[in-house]
């Protein structure tokens, strides 16, 4: 429960400071940073999609530094085994006896970077499912809780699809956001060159810690949301279903499977977080609109017509936002 207005203001100031600190290391990508933070503050996992070299891994590292939380990175490859992710029981000698001792895998960290997740086999990919959804890991008969706060940041390369294992819909649905990392502008690229090539590095300082993140998560849950705004969010999600008569025609044409209720949860939670980050104590329609694209883009299965017409999910969601008005 929020204590008073000062606490709210402090949080807002802290988050702004975090963004500023992250901005020292990550040039541009403000929208990506904001979206990652929204996911972090709403206990969600993020799938970052972008070509190699756009600073995805750097972004994750920077966030862990600014928030002073533990970080581990798993490079997904086809030969990666689930035990390599979750950890395994090893036989160790204790007091003269051989006993099994669980050796934690890289998944045990506050932020886990699952790099190029689509390169691992589905079996290995699915080893992350429990961690992402339940925040636990089960090895043998024992279940281990993951540290709090916990977040999986997975990356995937939209090109080089050969030898990859596209994530199944069920696993995609467990990502709160799918964030598109775009190529930086020339100015941003110049700044990136200045930092990376010249060896000039900004010293990063932690601004918040894990407890702060947990506190923010609690506060965001209590953020008031007007009925009209809730209705609007739900109408958006419902409208993605082509099987419904009320859905727009382009949805019926381009979408083969609509968004799940997790999409509505994602929109509700992240729009509240966005309102907080915007310094408001209530959710607005614009918050819903802002989070709709990253929350819905990986939850819509497009039809053959969409592929034939070269209409991607982002375009479909844009059309939906124009069609469904507050």
């Amino acid at each position: 429960m929020l204590q008073d207005e000062n606490e709210l203001q402090n949080i807002i100031n802290s988050v702004n400071a975090c963004e500023a600190e992250i901005g020292k290391a990550i040039i541009g990508q403000k929208s990506v940073i904001r979206q990652v933070l929204l996911a972090l503050f709403t206990d969600g996992n993020v799938l970052l999609e972008g070509v190699p070299g756009l600073g995805k891994t750097e972004l994750v590292k920077t966030i862990t530094k600014v928030f002073d939380i533990s970080f581990s990175r798993i490079q997904f490859t086809p030969d990666l085994m689930p035990a390599d992710v979750t950890g395994t029981n090893l036989i160790v000698k204790e007091e003269g006896q051989n006993v099994f001792k669980f050796e934690q895998g890289p998944v045990f960290a506050n932020i886990v970077l699952a790099d190029e997740i689509n390169r691992a086999t589905p079996k290995t990919q699915s080893s992350l499912l429990e961690a992402m959804q339940e925040k636990t890991v089960t090895v043998g008969k024992k279940t281990y809780e993951l540290p709090k706060p916990y977040m999986v940041l997975a990356t995937q390369n939209p090109i080089e699809n050969e030898g990859t294992y596209p994530l199944p819909e069920a696993q995609l649905d467990r990502f709160l956001f799918k964030i598109q990392v775009d190529f930086p502008t020339i100015d941003e690229l110049k700044q990136i060159m200045h930092i990376t090539v010249t060896g000039h590095k900004n010293e990063l300082h932690p601004v918040m810690n894990g407890d702060d993140i947990i506190r923010i998560r609690e506060i965001i849950r209590d953020m008031p949301m007007a009925e009209a705004v809730e209705d609007y969010a739900l109408r958006l999600v419902t409208a993605t279903h082509p099987e419904l008569e009320t859905s727009p025609d382009f949805i019926k044409k381009y979408v083969s499977c609509g968004a799940s209720p997790r999409a509505a949860q994602a929109i509700f939670k992240t729009s509240k977080a966005r309102a907080l980050l915007e310094g408001r104590a209530n959710v607005a329609f614009e918050d819903v609109k802002a989070v709709a694209v990253p929350a819905l883009r990986h939850r819509l299965a497009t039809s053959f017509e969409a592929i034939a017409d070269n209409v991607g999910t982002d375009k479909i969601i844009d059309m939906l936002l124009k069609e469904i008005t507050p």
Binding site: M1, L2, Q3, D4, E5, L8, D222, M223, P224, M225, A226, E227, A228, V229, R280, A281, N282, V283, A284, F285, E286, P326
Partner: protein
């Protein structure tokens, strides 16, 4: 608690102000839409009336504005903004759902709700309602409305034959109503003035209904005049005929009453039956009742003097009423029929022109009587009425055969046979001076032949039974009055007995 209430009140006050503003705009919009609809309808009616005759189309068109305006007001009430909608509308002008959220959480007192409410109040304190919701009815709508007003005025001023026709038709309609009232008044007056039977009044009503239908179908003033004239002519003709019939029946009844004293019981019975029928035909209920009373007494054994006196008085009254009616109608009573003096005289016969003379002379619109028949024998009785000749009505007079010396005397059985007057009817063509055949004024049917400019009475239809009855009665009367040998008297009586069977 108090602070929360104050904040809530401030919030509600703001929302109410927004709501008022929104509703004002909505009302203005609805009213303009309503007026646009009304004026569009008015224009359409005006255009329609250019081609189709519609009286007062402009007025009806104007009336369209009222329902349209009412519909606009009703729609406004159905669509008017509530607080929630007003809050949302305000939020959509940049308040970022602060007002809506605060309105929904106005009853909550948790930290977030308080912070949110305070944030909302801070925001709305800088909010200018008039600037965000200006009272500005759309210029396009007003322009459309003005264009329609112009269209209404223009279409109203355009003359057309359909409009002129509508005007004329309306004038005829109004006039027809006046004529209808006049005719109804006339019929009422006739009913009140004259002693008509129920059937006669019903026939009069039928005439009126027919005239009303003609008036309703009338398209021109001439049609109205013709319908009125037709009714007047028919009513006059009918009235005259009815009054004469009534008079004849009254006279006949009086005559029968006068004969009662001398008759045997069976004859009295027959006469009373005839009197009853005649009384009914003459609309004399008093006489009918008296006849029924007499009939009862006769059945009981003896017809009292009092009953006879009642019959005489009733018959006398009936004749007087009938004569009064004729006088009121300006018809000369047929003196040969009966006399109100109490001395019954056999009815004057309706002997339509012994000669085909009683033609109305169109050249003589006064309708001066043209004596026909033999004045030494007949008496001028029924007036023949000529038909209009080129709008003029000539009136002639029929010759009438008066009661002659007769040649026989018989029983009253002829009348007894068919007292109702129904049954076989005998046409008596061009009767001249056959004194033995007693036609009665107004009785039987008449045939008319148009002779260029007037009508000629050529003959009369009389019931067979009446003819025989008349012959028989006359024969019996004459047997008493003349010196006929007893043996011959028996032979004559047998003869009439036979033909009465």
């Amino acid at each position: 608690m108090q602070e929360r209430e104050n904040e809530t009140n401030r919030l509600l006050e703001f929302i109410d102000r927004v709501k008022k503003r929104l509703n004002l705009n909505l009302f203005a919009d609805m009213l303009i839409y309503g007026l646009i609809g009304g004026f569009a309808g008015w224009t359409a009616v005006n255009v329609f009336s250019l081609f189709v005759p519609v009286y007062n189309a402009e007025k009806y068109g104007a009336y369209l504005i009222i329902p349209c305006a009412i519909a606009a007001v009703v729609l406004f009430f159905l669509k008017r903004f509530g607080r929630r909608e007003a809050a949302l509308k305000a939020d959509l002008t940049g308040l970022k759902e602060r007002v809506t959220t605060a309105y929904e959480n106005r009853g909550k007192d948790d930290t977030f709700s308080r912070i949110q409410r305070a944030d909302a109040l801070r925001t709305i304190s800088r909010y200018d309602i008039k600037q965000n919701f200006p009272f500005r009815p759309g210029m396009k709508k007003i322009a459309v409305l003005l264009a329609l007003v112009l269209a209404v005025v223009t279409t109203m001023l355009i003359p057309s034959s359909a409009r002129a026709k509508a005007q004329t038709q309306h004038g005829v309609k109004v006039e027809a109503e006046k004529v209808k009232d006049k005719l109804e008044e006339k019929v009422k007056e006739l009913k009140d003035t004259y002693h008509l039977t129920e059937e006669q009044m019903k026939e009069l009503d039928e005439l009126l209904e027919q005239a009303k239908k003609e008036l309703k179908d009338a398209l021109t003033e001439e049609d109205l005049t013709r319908a009125e004239e037709r009714f007047a002519a028919k009513a006059d003709q009918k009235l005259k005929k009815d009054l004469e019939e009534n008079h004849a029946n009254a006279g006949e009844a009086q005559k029968n009453v006068s004969l009662l004293e001398k008759q045997t019981d069976s004859e009295k019975q027959a006469s009373l039956e005839a009197i009853k029928q005649q009384a009914e035909n003459a609309g004399n209920m008093e006489l009918k009742n008296a006849a029924e009373q007499a009939e009862r007494e006769l059945k009981d054994g003896q017809l009292s003097e009092e009953a006879l006196q009642n019959l005489r008085e009733a018959a006398q009254n009936g004749v007087q009423n009938a004569e009064q009616d004729l006088e009121n109608a300006g018809i000369k009573p047929n003196n040969g029929t009966s006399s109100s003096s109490g001395n019954p005289v056999p009815s004057g016969t309706v002997e339509p022109s012994g000669t085909p003379a009683p033609t109305g002379d169109p050249a003589d619109p006064s309708g001066a009587p043209s004596p026909t028949g033999d004045p030494s024998q007949g008496q001028q009785g029924q007036q023949g009425q000529g038909q209009q000749g080129q709008g003029q009505q000539g009136q002639g007079q029929q010759g009438q055969g008066q009661q002659g010396p007769g040649w026989n005397q018989g029983s009253d059985k002829g009348n007894e046979k068919d007292p109702s007057g129904k049954g076989e009817r005998v046409f008596v063509p061009n009767q001249k001076s056959d004194e033995t055949l007693h036609g009665k004024n107004g009785e039987g049917e008449e045939s008319q032949t148009q002779t260029g400019q007037s009508f000629t009475w050529e003959g009369n239809y009389v019931d067979y039974g009446t003819v025989i009855g008349d012959y028989t009665r006359k024969a019996y009367e004459d047997l008493n009055d003349t010196d006929v040998p007893p043996s011959m008297q028996e032979l004559i009586k047998d003869y009439f007995t036979e033909i009465n069977k």
